[in-house]
Symmetry: C3
Subunit: 359 residues, 3 copies
């Protein structure tokens, strides 16, 4: 059975949509750790380890009293820094604390850094200003996925799957038929796919009123370990930028545990931005497309988890972005594992060897 690759802890993951977090305590598992999300009295988002330092009861089941959480099992009181400030009804003041996670709230997203706080670097976050830009609107949410993080990363870095998995909405033959250009730098892997003079897929036909032939661009950026943005342009064939319809999709690919993932999404557009019916249609479509992905990835997880050791993969040119993404994650995980155990982790057991592709 193929074990999942070690999770990358030092990186920004989407922890929540800002509108999910309030004065009601919320538990969410992030990269194998239980996290309690809430807002302090001044409105700041806060996230601490959701395990009482006393007897491990989830703090998220406790009571929020000002900025202090009172554990509902024996009354330990934990302030916003994660420090214990006393025990309800008792005079003890135990020296104890739980981890407080670095957070950034920006453009309606709460980013969380599950690893070493010293390394948390806000400048690693990509630009997501379109989420709050006046010329844009978007729908967003989060979908649970019972599959390992890497499978979702690879899904998004090889969009040829749209042709086969999403033929009724966003996919048609042109996607698989059009090669990508791939570049990478640092923790980023990018691809561009510019389809010219193609038929409009159903989803875009309906939501834009475009008639074929059209040009369709898919420019994707993966910021390892967990952020993916897709820039989409659709326009009558031959027209040039900035003409056309623009869409952006932000995915937060956040491991919950080694084999479960939160699939955060925001789908934005720069046209008919006040058309609520269109927003509702796009949300429904996006959720339908993601359900097709979730169904496929959960089956793929079973296939990967039950395979014997030593299964080798076949890869082709369209896998180049996915393979680079995987290698980035491997490199980051190996670095975190330290010099002690790098040799065995050059390739995650979950995904085997890629062959036949120069990357």
């Amino acid at each position: 059975m193929a074990s999942p690759a070690r999770l990358v802890m030092n990186g920004w993951y989407m922890g929540a949509w800002a509108d999910e977090v309030g004065r009601k305590l919320m538990q969410r598992w992030i990269a194998g750790r239980p996290v309690c999300f809430y807002r302090l009295l001044d409105g700041t988002v806060n996230a601490i380890e959701d395990r009482c330092p006393h007897r491990r009861f989830p703090l998220s089941l406790g009571r929020l009293d000002g900025d202090v959480i009172e554990c509902n099992y024996h009354g330990y009181r934990i302030d916003g820094t994660g420090g214990c400030v006393g025990v309800a009804e008792q005079s003890d003041r135990p020296k104890a604390s739980v981890h407080r996670f670095p957070l950034v709230e920006r453009d309606g997203v709460v980013w969380i850094w599950p690893g070493d706080p010293e390394q948390a670097d806000e400048s690693l976050l990509p630009d997501t200003s379109w989420l709050t830009s006046p010329g844009w609107t978007h729908v967003h949410g989060v979908v649970p996925l019972k599959a390992r993080h890497l499978l979702l990363v690879e899904n998004l870095l090889d969009l040829t799957h749209e042709t086969f998995l999403h033929p009724g909405s966003i996919g048609n033959a042109a996607v698989a038929a059009t090669p990508i250009d791939v570049t990478s730098e640092g923790h980023r892997v990018s691809f561009t796919r510019h389809m010219v003079g193609i038929e409009a897929p159903p989803f875009y036909e309906k939501s834009m009123g475009l008639t074929s032939p059209i040009d369709r661009w898919q420019d994707g950026d993966f910021y390892a370990p967990g952020i993916f943005q897709l820039n989409i342009r659709l326009a009558p064939t031959g027209t040039e930028e900035p003409e056309g319809f623009h869409m952006k999709v932000l995915y937060g690919l956040t491991p919950a545990t080694e084999t479960e993932t939160h699939d955060f999404f925001a789908l934005g557009r720069d046209y008919r931005i006040h058309d609520e019916e269109l927003s509702k249609f796009q949300l429904d479509q996006q959720l339908a497309v993601m359900k097709e992905d979730v169904d496929a990835l959960e089956i793929q997880e079973v296939m990967v988890a039950t395979e014997p050791d030593g299964v080798r993969e076949s890869s082709i040119r369209s896998d180049v972005a996915g393979i680079r993404g995987r290698r980035l994650l491997e490199k980051m995980a190996a670095k975190e594992a330290g010099a002690a155990a790098p040799a065995r982790r050059t390739r995650p057991a979950a995904t085997g060897a890629a062959t036949g592709v120069a990357t």
Copy 2:
């Protein structure tokens, strides 16, 4: 992931309420072993390993023929001692047997000793004569719990949790606010908590008609590995024993498997003992309180089972009884594990180190 501590096998556990056991064979798992409970023709309770010596089919699915169980798979016939006395329809008389467990039936309780029968010592059982005393009445039952035994032991040895987990019934601020006195000797850990001039919690107000202020006593005795008795006194403030309302609670804390526990209980009182409506009210309340505990402990089990190695606990004065109880269990388990492996078992992985408390 924190593995459960090794179960203590040499000790009395509650196996069943006497009224559960009759001529109908009953399977119940005790300390990781399947046990078949039933009564012999003369009314004696009997318990043998519930696994046929032939092909492991549960004997409890067989047919009781006099004092002999006939296995329903291939007809092995097992008498009350656990010995095979033949095979139905066949002339073979195989030398085979299953374990017969030491039992004591007393005061309506069937006690079982899952470990070495040579060490079974009836004098280790605490006095439970109030269960059948003419001046007392009680309600009783058993509740399934998907959490390791130790978590239930610690729950009962630190009743400050009543303040937070059971505020609507038996808990109020006074419980957590009142320190305990702890004593221990041999396999027993005892605590007393005498609350004076406090407000009456809802449960007692209703069932006794008491008005505040009252005095409330909680005197608990844990007999390791699996028996807990609580003596409760409620009375108008300032009155002395024997004035007041007395209640007793017997808990049988019986591991089913390493991570599942039978939570046996009897709740008794020495007042309005013929009031069946009150008995029904007290049973409902007791089950409601236990449901709050079960919900909390099953969540705690998840938190403990998924935690990384090396999690340390914070402890305070109110944990003294719980910590002594845990150490007793550790010592007993280590002794059973023998001289071969004591060093690694000075502290169970499940619970980590207690700090900051002199016990």
Copy 3:
């Protein structure tokens, strides 16, 4: 916990009934491997590993295009030999393939060889021509079983269990009371049980109109690892062959995984072969009997899987066939495991030692 014995891979297992396989792709797990069954354009049955060589998506969720399966994740195209013949919409022609399993379609059965194709030998298949013989008719199907393969093998090789588990249909005291003769050769273990002057069990009374006393024969042949045939004769006491009612049962005992088994069956007769009501009655009865077995075996699986190491079994004369069957499987598995690890595998952990029986 007792682990299952290693599965025997080099042998014929029933993969499907011929009428289950058509132009619709079908996934079935065989001996721990996912298999995609379908028919080629010329009607030939085909079975390939159900895991795309690209990213492990099940091919059975793909689209059948002539004799080529197109994977529904990224479009890999796999022909009937298991070889990749291209990728839809892309010009790549990756060198990749999946395993193609040796198959034999005969008498309405699709036999599959999950191990080394070089060793697949059609002559190892027993004669099943009665399935399509003009003087016979049969009902057939497959029942899922959550228990390890060996437990089902042993169930069928010791029919004394009919007396206890199936008293309302095919079992009565005579079965357990009548000893068997056992012979074996190569990969076959056979037993005969000839009951003379016995009462007719309910199932046969109803379906044949026989009145007691009758003679009843049960002659069973186990072809390791996974085929069992039972020849049944019922006739008024004292009459000789070929007089009487004849029935045959074919069981395909096919491991799905280490702890799950496909229980294929065909129940045939040589009388009233055009009586469809009788066929329906016999199918219902057969399924009812198999449900009794499945319920028992699934409980037995729990007992075996949770038992401590070192449990020893008691065995009697009626176990001789079962023990020989088990030893055959052990020997075959040990041979496959190779010279490297035979010493540890002389006896599967799942079943322990048999004692007290000369076999």
